[in-house]
């Protein structure tokens, strides 16, 4: 019993050690990596990824997946920037953008949670749907929002108490969801449904509502991330969120929430997001091309997953041995 506990501790620790090693490595090989300016940049880069990954964590926690977040980001960015360009006030424009996330999430949740369609296929379809809609609406053009309000969110000088607004937003979302997941009935239910749908059902829970809510949350968070992304350049285009679904999934997996669901959580996702951002940021500093960055990040994900499998195998073997005795 003690042994497994130690192992468990090591797992989270491994990620932290990884980040520290990476930091030391980068600060030796890349001048200015540890500068205040770059650290702030790094946190800012982490923010958007973290927001999407928080939503993805909830979905993966119930043993599902959401491939549609990237295109939700794009669609939201397009809808919001078009409305702003046409003179809509910032508040309804943002609400309309977030509504995109709600609707896509609702559709995902209904199809997966109520109709019991396969979650991969369903969210792949909504990925295409969202991206297609975004392309149709903007006609393939970059939409210039021309909005001072939107610009005010994303501009480099939008700093509050020394930290960029993005960081504050990400932190607020993270802390709130951490609280919801660990302290509320809703969060408990997600762990139960992900741990064993059957057990949860036998305990009298309605599982479909869990699926619907995680997809809506994931959609809304993707929308928020999409708006932030658009505010950075004060414009939107239909490919702005491309690839974010994979980065988010990688973040969650690295953070120790497995596809099987039922365990893991947001703390790991935070560490995962920091690790990925640090890698990207640092590799750029050292002068490694974006193409090679992909390769390196792929290798890191593989290592983390292999380590996880090895640990799980060992746990299973211990289980069997226990039955034998």
């Amino acid at each position: 019993m003690k042994k497994t506990k130690l192992l468990k501790g090591k797992e989270g620790l491994g990620l932290l050690v990884g980040i520290i090693v990476l930091f030391i490595f980068m600060s030796i090989f890349a001048d200015n990596f540890l500068s205040l300016y770059n650290m702030h940049n790094l946190l800012k880069d982490t923010s958007i990824l973290l927001i999407v990954a928080v939503g993805m964590t909830l979905v993966i926690l119930v043993a599902r997946i959401d491939m549609s977040v990237g295109s939700t980001m794009s669609l939201t960015a397009i809808v919001t920037t078009i409305l702003l360009r046409d003179g809509t006030h910032i508040v309804p424009a943002i609400i309309a953008g977030i509504l995109c996330g709600v609707l896509i999430g609702l559709l995902n949740g209904y199809l997966v949670g109520v109709q019991k369609l396969n979650h991969w296929v369903t969210t792949f379809a909504t990925l295409s749907l969202g991206k297609g809609l975004a392309l149709v609406i903007c006609d393939g053009q970059i939409i210039n929002a021309n909005s001072d309000h939107l610009k005010a969110i994303g501009h480099n000088s939008s700093v509050f108490l020394g930290l960029h607004v993005f960081i504050w937003i990400a932190a607020a979302i993270f802390v709130f969801m951490l609280y919801v997941l660990n302290k509320t009935k809703f969060g408990y239910k997600l762990y139960s449904v992900g741990g064993s749908e059957q057990t949860a059902t036998l305990a009298g829970m309605k599982t479909s509502t869990s699926y619907i809510s995680v997809y809506i949350i994931s959609g809304v968070l993707a929308s928020i991330a999409g708006i932030l992304l658009a505010s950075k350049a004060n414009n939107g285009n239909a490919t702005i969120g491309d690839g974010y679904e994979f980065n988010a999934i990688a973040t969650v997996l690295i953070g120790g929430t497995p596809f099987a669901g039922g365990r893991g959580g947001l703390t790991g996702t935070l560490l995962g997001a920091v690790l990925i951002s640090t890698l990207k940021n640092g590799l750029r500093f050292i002068g490694i091309t974006p193409s090679l960055q992909f390769v390196i990040i792929g290798v890191v994900i593989l290592i983390v997953i292999i380590v996880d499998v090895v640990f799980n195998e060992r746990r299973k073997l211990e289980e069997i041995r226990r039955v034998e005795q």
């Binding site: 019993m1 497994t4 506990k5 009935k185 139960s192 064993s196 057990t199 009298g204 039922g262 005795q325």
Partner: protein, 496 residues
């Protein structure tokens, strides 16, 4: 005893699955504070009855009364509200959550009504209390996955106590426990009894029943045969009540002089079975009897090379092997007709023709290219030989009846020229008419000189078909009978 004295009573319960009635007018009454044992062979209907009582399954006919009042619609939530809980053989626990979180699963105490935040302290405190009542000194914040099996079971019991259960159903609670842990469980059961909790105790272990139960009910083929006070129910009487199905003459087995030995197993051991010795010869049908969980399937799957064994050896066609894999065994001419037909026997999304040639691709298509003509010829051959009822060999296997699916599996192995066929529950889920056809096929195969090793929970089937029968219990072979000496009573006595 008056009806109103029962805390839980079922009357005239009937239940059918796919037109086969598995419970016939079952009456059962449970008194407050009694331990009521429920016994019966595999498939006697115990689990189905318990699932109906606990609201997992709906009854077709009959009545459920709780504390004398009829319960209109029984479902999982209703049963919980009434105080009926079930502790399944497979635990329903979440391994990555703590003991307290499991105990209060779905009913977590709430601190803040609006945000619905969980009161962890309250939950842990109350869990500690409940665990203390059962004499368990353990931190309720421990993860369930880190507990031993017996402790996990105690968590299940605690879960049931936490909802103020008045009737607790325990399905084979001692199956995976050691002697010491069983004593601990019995201690708990006695404590629950003294609190007025009734327990329905399902078990195959008659010695245990003697020790813990007040009354015992025997189910057989979906009929409740009798309910007896434990003093009036010696072990041999219970066994006599459990068996006694008619052996009809639907088998038409012809017996032949056995030929050469094709399979011999020597001292085979793994973590699921121990020191297994058996042999099968040509023209022979050899049976393995025993209860579910005795390790029968594991032995057969090890012989097939599907599961690993740790010690011992398997002789196939006279050659000794200390390690097997399915590529090797199928190449030698061994075929497995598995119990879980739909996932292990056939590929349901493929047509009959492709399923038939599935194990013989190398033999039929030497150049590695598929040949539709050969495939058609072979598939038609076995369709005729085994009388697979279908309008076309292009029909997907998922649209066939269970019996015809089983024939496809047999056809697959015959096509691969198998001489040793391992049948795991050959007629499970197959209707009566098709059963006879399967028996006929097996008889025919024995006549042709094939060797058959079959597992069955259907005792008349074993007695009607087999030359010899091995009996397994707890991973060991406890007896071997020739067809002349085998009786249902003898076999059952060695299985439990």
């Amino acid at each position: 005893m008056q009806e109103k004295d029962y805390i839980l009573e079922v009357k005239n319960i009937c239940k059918s699955f796919y037109g086969v009635e598995v419970l016939h007018n079952v009456d059962l009454g449970i008194r407050p504070g009694e331990v009521h044992a429920l016994v019966g062979e595999n498939g006697a209907g115990k689990s189905t009855l318990m699932k109906i009582i606990s609201g997992v399954l709906d009854k077709d006919k009959g009545e459920i009364l709780f504390e004398g009042k009829p319960v209109e619609r029984m479902d999982v939530n209703r049963a919980q509200d009434l105080g009926i809980s079930i502790i399944h053989q497979e635990f329903n626990l979440l391994p990555y959550r703590t003991i307290a979180q499991n105990i209060f699963l779905g009913r977590e105490p709430v601190k803040n009504k609006i945000l619905r935040t969980i009161d962890d302290d309250e939950m842990n405190r109350r869990s500690k209390e409940l665990l203390g009542f059962l004499g368990m000194e353990i931190d309720p914040r421990t993860r369930v996955g880190n507990l031993g099996i017996a402790q996990q079971q105690m968590v299940e019991v605690t879960k049931a106590i936490a909802v103020d259960s008045k009737v607790m159903i325990m399905d084979e609670p001692t199956a995976t426990l050691t002697k010491k842990e069983i004593d601990m469980l019995f201690e708990t059961i006695r404590k629950l009894k003294s609190q007025g909790v009734s327990i329905i105790y399902i078990s195959h272990r008659l010695e245990e029943i003697k020790e813990i139960a007040d009354r015992v009910s025997v189910l057989r083929d979906g009929y409740l045969i009798e309910t007896l006070n434990i003093e009036d129910a010696p072990q041999d009487l219970i066994i006599k009540l459990m068996v006694g199905r008619e052996i009809t003459n639907q088998y038409n087995r012809e017996y032949f002089t056995p030929g050469e030995e094709i399979l011999r197993v020597e001292n085979l051991s793994s973590y699921r079975f121990n020191n297994i010795n058996l042999s099968v010869r040509r023209n022979e049908i050899v049976g393995i009897s025993g209860l579910v969980g005795a390790g029968r399937t594991e032995v057969v799957k090890s012989i097939f090379g599907y599961d690993k064994f740790e010690k011992g050896s398997v002789y196939l066609f006279g050659k000794k092997y200390n390690r097997l894999n399915t590529r090797l065994t199928t190449g030698l001419g061994v075929g497995l007709i598995p119990e879980d037909r739909k996932t292990e026997g056939v590929i349901v999304t493929k047509p009959i023709r492709e399923n038939i040639v599935h194990a013989s691709l190398r033999k039929l298509f030497k150049r590695g290219l598929l040949d539709k003509e050969v495939e058609t010829r072979v598939a038609e051959e076995y369709r005729e030989k085994l009388n697979i009822v279908t309008n076309s060999i292009n029909k997907l296997v998922q649209f066939l009846s269970g019996g015809n699916q089983q024939k496809v599996v047999v056809g697959k192995w015959l096509c691969a020229e198998c001489d040793l066929l391992l049948f795991d529950e050959p007629t499970r889920g197959i209707d009566v008419g098709a059963r006879e056809e399967i028996y006929e096929i097996m008889n025919e195969l024995a006549k042709e000189g094939k060797a058959i090793l079959m597992i069955s929970s259907d005792m008349p089937e074993l007695l009607g078909l087999c030359d010899r029968i091995y009996v397994m219990k707890d991973g060991k072979i406890t007896a071997e009978f020739q067809k002349e000496e085998a009786t249902q009573e003898k076999i059952l006595a060695h299985s439990i």
